[in-house]
C-alpha cells in the first residue's frame, strides 16, 4: 500500500464520516463536505460534458469543417458525417446565444436557442413517451382474461393457472387489467365519482396504496444497501493498512463535537 493510496483512504473516511455527522446536527464539518461535494460534482460534470458531448459533437466537426474549407483532407466528408459538419456552426451560434444570458443587453438572444431546445425536446418526448409508455403499456395490459386453448392461462395439461408468482395466471391478469382501469378511473375527474365510478375509484386507491408502499419499501432497501456499502468502506479502512483511518478520524470528530458542546455550555454559563 503506497502513501498515496493511504491518503485516498483517509479522504474517503473523512468525507464519509463528515456527511454522516449531519445525523448529529448541522455542523461546520458537514457544511465543508457538502460544499466540496458540490464543487466536485460540478467540476466532474463539466469535464464529462466536454469530453463526451462538446468535443465530439461541436469542436471536432467545426475543426474538420474549417480544415476542409482551407484545403485540408476531404475524407472527413461522407465518412464520419452524413451532413456537412459546417452545420455545427449553427450549434455554436445557438450556444453563444445561450451564453448571452449572462449579459443584460443581449440576454433576450437566449430565447431563440431555448425555443429550439424546447421545440426539439418537446417533440422527442411527445412521440417517444407515446411509444414507450402509452402504446407499450396499453398493449401490455391487453391480457387474456379467460382460459382458452392456446393462451397462457392454461397449463400444458389443460388445467387453469389460477395464481402464480411468476408468469401469467387468471388472478394476475384480472388484477392487472382491473387495477390499471381502476387507477385511471380514480384520476379521471371529468365525471363525478358516484355509484360504480366511486367503487372503481376506491379500488384504484387500494392499488395505488400498494404501489406506493412497494415503491417505498424498495427505495428504503436501495438506501440501506448504499448505507451498507459505506459501512463496508469504513470497515475496510479501519485496518492497519490504512493506519486505522476510521478510528482516528472518527475519534477526532467525536472529540471535536464534545469540545464544541463543552465550550458552548461554558460560554452559555458565562
Amino acid at each position: 500500500m503506497t502513501l498515496y493510496e493511504v491518503f485516498l483512504g483517509w479522504m474517503v473516511v473523512f468525507f464519509t464520516l463528515a456527511i454522516f455527522s449531519f445525523l448529529y446536527k448541522d455542523n461546520p464539518i458537514y457544511k465543508f463536505a457538502e460544499h466540496v461535494y458540490l464543487g466536485a460534482a460540478v467540476g466532474y460534470g463539466v469535464v464529462i460534458v466536454y469530453a463526451q458531448v462538446l468535443e465530439p459533437d461541436l469542436v471536432m466537426p467545426i475543426v474538420d469543417f474549417l480544415r476542409h474549407l482551407w484545403g485540408g483532407p476531404t475524407a472527413v466528408y461522407g465518412e464520419q458525417y452524413e451532413v456537412s459538419p459546417g452545420w455545427r456552426l449553427v450549434a455554436l451560434a445557438l450556444s453563444i446565444m445561450i451564453w448571452a444570458r449572462l449579459t443584460k443587453r443581449f440576454n433576450w438572444w437566449s430565447r431563440w436557442a431555448l425555443a429550439m431546445i424546447v421545440g426539439a425536446y418537446a417533440a422527442l418526448r411527445l412521440v417517444g413517451d407515446a411509444q414507450a409508455y402509452l402504446v407499450a403499456k396499453i398493449n401490455a395490459t391487453l391480457l387474456p382474461l379467460w382460459p382458452m386453448p392456446g393462451n397462457p392461462l392454461l397449463d400444458a395439461d389443460g388445467g387453469i393457472r389460477w395464481v402464480s408468482v411468476e408468469g401469467p395466471s387468471l388472478l394476475t391478469n384480472w388484477l392487472i387489467v382491473l387495477g390499471v382501469a381502476a387507477v385511471l378511473i380514480h384520476f379521471f375527474f371529468s365525471v363525478e365519482h358516484k355509484g360504480p365510478m366511486k367503487g372503481a375509484s376506491r379500488f384504484g386507491i387500494m392499488i395505488l396504496m400498494i404501489t406506493f408502499g412497494s415503491s417505498f419499501g424498495y427505495t428504503v432497501l436501495a438506501r440501506v444497501s448504499l448505507l451498507i456499502g459505506r459501512v463496508v468502506d469504513l470497515q475496510e479502512r479501519a485496518t492497519g493498512d490504512y493506519f486505522y483511518a476510521t478510528y482516528i478520524i472518527g475519534a477526532a470528530m467525536i472529540t471535536y463535537f464534545v469540545g464544541v458542546k463543552l465550550y458552548e455550555r461554558a460560554a452559555g454559563k458565562a
Binding site: T16, V42, D57, W108, A130, G179, M209, T211, V220
Partner: protein, 222 residues
C-alpha cells in the same frame, strides 16, 4: 419580434421533429432530424458554461467580500477547479478520463475517492430520514393506510435474508419472498402502469401546448 420568432422556431422545429417519426424512411428528413437533435444536445451541453459562470460569480463575490461562510465557498471553488484541472489534464494529455488503476489518473482517483463516496453517503444518509419519516407516517388509520404499510413491510422483509430466514423459521417456506415478488409483479405493476399511462398523456398534452405556443415557459420574464 422578440416573442414571435422564438414561438415560430419552436413550432417549426417541434412539428418537423414529430413528422420525422412518420417519414423516417425519407433520408433527408431522418438526417435533418438527427442533426437537429444533435444540435439541441450540444446547445444543452454548452449551457453548462452558464452554470459554471453563475457559480463563479456568486461564490467569487462572496469570497472577495469575506461574506458569511466564505470559507465553504472557497472550498467549493477549489474542489471544482481541482476536478476540472485534473479532468482536462487527463483528457488532453492522456486522451482518456477513466482508468482502472489507482494512481494512474488523478481525475479518476478523485472521482473514486472523493465524489463517489460523497455521493453514495449523501444517498445513504436518506436511509435514516426515510426510516424516521416512515415511523411517523405509518399509522394504521384506515384500509388504504394499512395496505401502504403492509406492502412496504412485506417488500422490505421479502427482499432481505432476514425475511427468508423468518419465513423458513415460521414453517412458511418461501412465502415472504414470494409475496414480495407477487406484490412487485402484480399490484405494483398495475399501479405503475396506470401512472405511466397518465404521465404519457400529460406529456403529450403539454408537448402539444408547448409546440403550438399555447404554453411558453421559455418566454417567462417578458
Amino acid at each position: 419580434m422578440r416573442k414571435e420568432i422564438p414561438i415560430l422556431i419552436t413550432l417549426f422545429i417541434g412539428v418537423f421533429m414529430v413528422l420525422k417519426f412518420f417519414f423516417e424512411p425519407v433520408d433527408w428528413v431522418r438526417i435533418s432530424a438527427e442533426e437537429i437533435a444533435k444540435i439541441a444536445q450540444v446547445v444543452v451541453a454548452s449551457s453548462v458554461v452558464l452554470g459554471v459562470a453563475n457559480i463563479l460569480r456568486i461564490n467569487f463575490r462572496a469570497i472577495v467580500q469575506r461574506r458569511r461562510d466564505w470559507g465553504y465557498k472557497l472550498a467549493l471553488l477549489v474542489t471544482m477547479f481541482l476536478l476540472m484541472g485534473a479532468g482536462f489534464w487527463a483528457h488532453f494529455y492522456h486522451h482518456r478520463v477513466t482508468s482502472l488503476v489507482v494512481g494512474d489518473l488523478l481525475f479518476q482517483d478523485l472521482y473514486g475517492n472523493l465524489l463517489s463516496p460523497l455521493q453514495s453517503t449523501m444517498f445513504a444518509l436518506l436511509a435514516f430520514f426515510i426510516a424516521s419519516a416512515a415511523f411517523r407516517a405509518f399509522r394504521v388509520r384506515n384500509l388504504p393506510a394499512a395496505l401502504l404499510m403492509f406492502a412496504a413491510i412485506l417488500i422490505m422483509l421479502g427482499r432481505v435474508p432476514l425475511g427468508h430466514w423468518l419465513s423458513q423459521a415460521l414453517g412458511l417456506g418461501a412465502l415472504l419472498p414470494n409475496v414480495a415478488d407477487w406484490l412487485m409483479g402484480v399490484p405494483n405493476t398495475a399501479g405503475q402502469r396506470a401512472i405511466l399511462i397518465g404521465v404519457a398523456l400529460g406529456i403529450i398534452a403539454v408537448g402539444l401546448r408547448v409546440i403550438f405556443g399555447i404554453e411558453r415557459p421559455y418566454l417567462k420574464g417578458e
